[in-house]
């Protein structure tokens, strides 16, 4: 039931607690139904908006340049087109990021690495595909080494066309993602 995740007690105490029963049902049962109930309350509305306002305004993207759009991603995070204004700063480890930006060519050798990074990210996570190469292989549609349909491997939320798109379009994509998080249209019911 995860007591040892919160209070640093050895894991055996965790199993011990799971054997107890409260009001006749086992503790894990009670615990999961209550969290389920709380999740439904959260889904209803006002609390959900607050959560999404928080998630919307502090989106951290993974520092991962993969092509021409990667170099534009530097500029998007740096001085003139400042993504920090929207609370969006680059982080280096996927554990602390919210959005994964596919910023360039996705090749056969890089696909497993990319999938590992995507899986390592904690749950409320989104994906932006920037540039033609990320959306559909772009000018390399017939290359033997490029993955054309990134959409089948990663649930991409925002597509930013352009080769490479201007940093202003990066910001527009970011605002679209924020709108999407705000209206809870990302179909992953966070």
């Amino acid at each position: 039931m995860g007591i040892s995740d919160v209070i640093p007690v050895p894991v055996c105490i965790d199993e011990e607690i799971e054997k107890w029963t409260i009001f006749g049902q086992p503790v894990t049962e009670v615990w999961f139904t209550t969290t389920e109930k709380i999740h439904q309350i959260i889904q209803m509305g006002p609390i959900k908006n607050i959560f999404n306002w928080g998630r919307k305004n502090s989106v951290y993207f993974l520092m991962q340049p993969m092509g021409c759009c990667g170099v534009e991603m530097f500029v998007f995070g740096a001085a003139p087109y400042d993504s920090d204004r929207f609370g969006c700063i680059p982080r280096n480890t996927p554990r602390q990021t919210d959005v994964m930006i596919i910023s360039g060519y996705l090749t056969r050798k890089y696909l497993p690495v990319f999938k590992n990074l995507w899986e390592n990210m904690p749950e409320p996570k989104w994906c932006i595909a920037i540039g033609e190469c990320a959306i559909s292989g772009g000018p390399f549609y017939d290359s033997y080494n490029i993955i054309q349909n990134t959409g089948d491997y990663f649930p991409i939320d925002v597509y930013i066309p352009g080769c490479p798109p201007r940093p202003e379009q990066f910001l527009e994509g970011l605002i679209n993602l924020q709108e999407k998080i705000k209206q809870r249209k990302d179909k992953r019911d966070y």
């Binding site: 040892s4 995740d5 919160v6 209070i7 640093p8 007690v9 050895p10 894991v11 607050i50 959560f51 306002w53 928080g54 998630r55 919307k56 305004n57 502090s58 740096a78 001085a79 003139p80 400042d82 920090d84 204004r85 929207f86 609370g87 982080r91 280096n92 480890t93 554990r95 602390q96 919210d98 904690p122 749950e123 409320p124 966070y190």
Partner: protein, 350 residues
């Protein structure tokens, strides 16, 4: 006003135990609020002032004047982030690290006088546990964070974190000793280790009385906090995020938050020890005379924070062996020279 003070002092004299308990509980509640909000303001200042140095706007689209609500957004996001504990991690130590970090900083907050109230010509220090060795205690408690850093790094079974943990320990122990010697040389001049008495005895600020000690203490403090010239333990480029690579969500938030807690308390400590605490040229500022010492202290703390953030925007990061060399081969002998200077000046002038 005087009646209340007399009753309090009289009550404290009769039952010291209950008085200490009440002060402890009220202090814990107030201080955990004040210190945490202060640390959040320091995080916001770090991002905002940093982007000011870099000629760009900081977070300002989030809401509130100058992007104040950015921290609310960060906090909410971190709270609603999934809690991932990777496999192969030493779970007890992994979970214990943020708890020790925050407990350590709260212990420091207990003994630091956060300013004073000027009532009827006398300054009453705002401190919860007014120990007479509080300088020594605070300097020791500040280094609990290095234990938390090592626990976080070593337990998360990740090559980057292990390197970050070793580097964090090497960095902190290299500057523990010079920091201690600087505190002693301040205490030698003030003839006492109690922070309140140190502040009271600072007619001439110790930053001017012993400039070398002030410089060494600032460098040691910046190292203790892990700010840029000395942030090897989380050097983005070499070892990704150092000791907090495997931490995610609110667990990483706590570690990151305690680092800024230490930053705030460290800068308060510097302004108490070296910049004359709550003494200012015009003690009873005409309008708000009761709170004027507090305002002087807050101004000094803001200046120290601004300076440490400037360091982050302006200096390169040193290599870990240069940090340890600087610590052992330069800081330690110089701080002992400063101790000699404090002893000589202390006997003839103080």
């Amino acid at each position: 006003m005087d009646g209340i003070i007399d009753t309090i002092t009289q009550f404290a004299a009769q039952e010291p135990a209950i008085f200490a308990l009440i002060i402890g509980i009220i202090g814990a509640a107030v201080l955990s609020g004040v210190v945490n909000v202060g640390a959040m303001l320091v995080i916001w200042a770090d991002r905002k002032v940093m982007s000011d140095f870099c000629n760009r706007f900081g977070p300002n689209r989030v809401g509130g004047r100058w992007g104040i609500l950015q921290l609310g957004a960060d906090a909410i996001k971190l709270f609603t982030k999934e809690d991932v504990i990777p496999a192969g991690v030493d779970k007890g130590v992994y979970v214990w690290a943020p708890i020790i970090a925050s407990a350590g900083t709260m212990l420091v907050a207990a003994a630091i006088p956060f300013g004073a109230l000027h009532i009827g010509g006398k300054n009453y220090p705002l401190v919860v546990a007014n120990m007479d060795i509080s300088a020594f205690y605070v300097e020791a408690a500040l280094s609990i964070m290095s234990i938390a850093v090592f626990m976080a790094g070593y337990s998360s079974n990740n090559k980057y974190s292990i390197l970050g943990a070793f580097r964090g320990i090497a960095r902190m122990i290299a500057y523990e000793v010079p920091m201690g010697v600087c505190v002693i040389s301040v205490a030698v001049m003030a003839h006492s280790l109690n922070l309140v008495e140190i502040v009271e005895s600072q007619t001439l600020w110790y930053a001017f009385a012993q400039p070398l000690g002030f410089v060494i203490f600032m460098i040691a403090l910046v190292t203790d906090l892990g700010r840029v010239p000395f942030d090897q333990s989380e050097a983005e480029e070499e070892i990704i995020c150092g000791y907090s690579t495997e931490y995610s969500g609110i667990r990483w938030g706590l570690l990151y938050f305690q680092e800024y807690n230490n930053f705030l308390l460290g800068s308060v400590l510097v302004s108490l020890l070296f910049l004359g605490g709550w003494h200012g040229p015009i003690i009873p500022i005409p309008l708000l005379d009761m709170v004027s010492p507090l305002i002087w202290l807050i101004m000094k703390v803001i200046i120290v924070i601004w300076f440490i953030i400037l360091i982050r925007a302006a200096l390169f990061r040193m290599r870990i062996d240069q940090v340890t060399d600087l610590g052992w081969k330069w800081m330690l002998p110089l701080s002992i020279v400063n101790l000699g200077w404090a002893v000589i000046v202390g006997t003839y002038f103080a």
